[in-house]
Amino acid sequence: MGLTRNVSLMTALRYKGQAPFLTYIMHRIGGSALFILFTLYILALAGVGSVHAVFGNWLFQIVFLFFGLFHAINGLRITILDLFTKLIEYQRQAITIEWAIFLLLYAYAAFVIVRNALGG
């Protein structure tokens, strides 16, 4: 891997890698978010009360559920395609299925979170 980068952030954002690139970037953002969540999890295990309050916040739940769920589903797709290499030809179809599963699960979970937040 080279040690220099000649690609600006704006150029990178305009890169037309389409669905595989979007999942790649979101997997990394999700992983970074989960690393923060991991720290909070340890603090919650240690009994830090304010962290439990953070976990109970509906906005926190919606944001981290988005990243966590996507990271988990996308990771499963990556693992399946890596372990069964003949399936790699169907990568784009797998991404479409992945998005469908993710959106269904996330929409339902977000609905439940918002309903509970509104006291329903």
Partner: protein, 141 residues
């Protein structure tokens, strides 16, 4: 890669056994291990919920926080011990997977060897400290 290009992959026997290959396998196996732990924890909590008539929120709380005060099995020594061991293993797997992932991201975004080395040292130190705290807290709670 254009939309019509075929994605390519290299078979394992052509990759060779080096650090990159080992970490590649490690990342996949730890991901699968996390799914296994989550499913096992969830099933265990479901069994408890049948006795306690509890809701999904309690189930998830017990699955991931076996030392929670509301957990009816706190005090049941052998199950509590098993749950603690499972959560410790889960934490270790998560931190191993997470540290490797963060290091990959850092390697991609920080170009100089100096920055890479210090971020690498920092993240690994952080993970070690957090793991020690986590194991202590889980086992003694």
């Amino acid at each position: 890669m254009t939309a019509t290009a075929k994605p390519r992959t290299l078979p394992m026997n052509k990759r060779g056994l080096n650090f990159e290959s080992i970490m590649w396998i490690f990342t996949r196996l730890t991901a699968l291990a996390m799914y296994a732990f989550v499913i096992a924890g969830f099933i265990g909590a479901l069994i408890m919920s049948q006795k306690m008539h509890s809701n999904l929120a309690d189930i998830l709380l017990w699955a991931f926080f076996p030392n929670a005060n509301a957990n009816p099995l706190v005090g049941t020594i052998w199950i509590t011990g098993l749950a603690k061991l499972m959560v410790i293993a889960f934490v270790l797997v998560v931190s191993g997977h997470g540290v490797h992932g963060v290091l990959e991201i850092i390697d991609d975004f920080f170009a100089t060897p100096f920055a890479r080395r210090w971020f690498r040292n920092g993240i690994i130190t952080y993970a070690l400290v957090v793991n020690v705290i986590a194991i202590y807290v889980i086992w003694t709670s």
